[in-house]
Symmetry: C2
Subunit: 115 residues, 2 copies
DNA sequence: CGCGCACTTACGCAATTCTTCAAGTCGTAC
DNA sequence: GTACGACTTGAAGAATTGCGTAAGTGCGCG
């Protein structure tokens, strides 16, 4: 395909690039949730959540269905769960590196002062 | 840790949410590249590339080192390669779904017209 | 030293994304 | 039918991000 695939990738990652949307995907990868349930676990306004859900829907990552008086959401691409997990690993690595660096700097600074 | 991990995740994904940055990571996961080499493969202005590299550096995903008259970059977190691969899988899935949906709609529309 | 190459930083403007408020839809229950 | 709860949509302003031009840094070489 001559179409820029890395463009699609960037778009995909951008849709993951929001705390509320990450939170939604994490909750939904445990089990399906109604909107008001999501709302209990994510501290934002209903309308805002709805907008973020719309973003995820447009990206094709979640699906909605009506059931009784409420709307249920589910992840439509199961691999997302794996992705979130590997992201967690990477982030731990990066954060750990940063802590080490910070500690080194702190130690060096202390050594400098004491000398 | 009481610190919102999903916040860090969102930030992480946002740094991946740019075509040039994706491109850089893909090129760097093949082998280390000098900036001017990256420039050959990425059609943007030097200063722009530099900015994107700075973003990746701040996120701790790449490292730079000077060698001769040029600056070499390398990925500092090897797992990124895996992440890009699983992203590709997911995207293929999502895009395929969309094509199906589009086809269905087209078929339905055609059926509607012919009736 | 001084020039040029390879790259980076500053800065201002355009474009995108986020957030909130207000209004609207859809089903259910009274 | 109308009132209410559960959501969604629209629109507008604030906040971020992206990009180009221009200016700067650092090195190696004649």
């Amino acid at each position: 395909m001559a179409v820029p695939l890395y463009q699609a990738k960037a778009e995909f990652f951008r849709t993951l690039g929001h705390p509320a949307r990450i939170r939604v995907l994490e909750l939904l990868s445990e089990r399906d949730h109604a909107v008001h349930e999501l709302l209990d676990g994510i501290d934002i306004e209903p309308s805002n959540l709805s907008q973020q859900l719309a973003v995820l829907r447009r990206a094709g990552l979640v699906e909605q269905r009506r059931e009784g008086g409420q709307v249920l959401y589910s992840v439509s691409v199961p691999e997302v769960r794996d992705l979130l997990l590997s992201a967690r690993v990477i982030i731990r690595g990066v954060l750990a590196d940063r802590v080490e660096l910070r500690d080194e700097l702190a130690t060096a600074a202390a050594a400098g002062r004491s000398r």
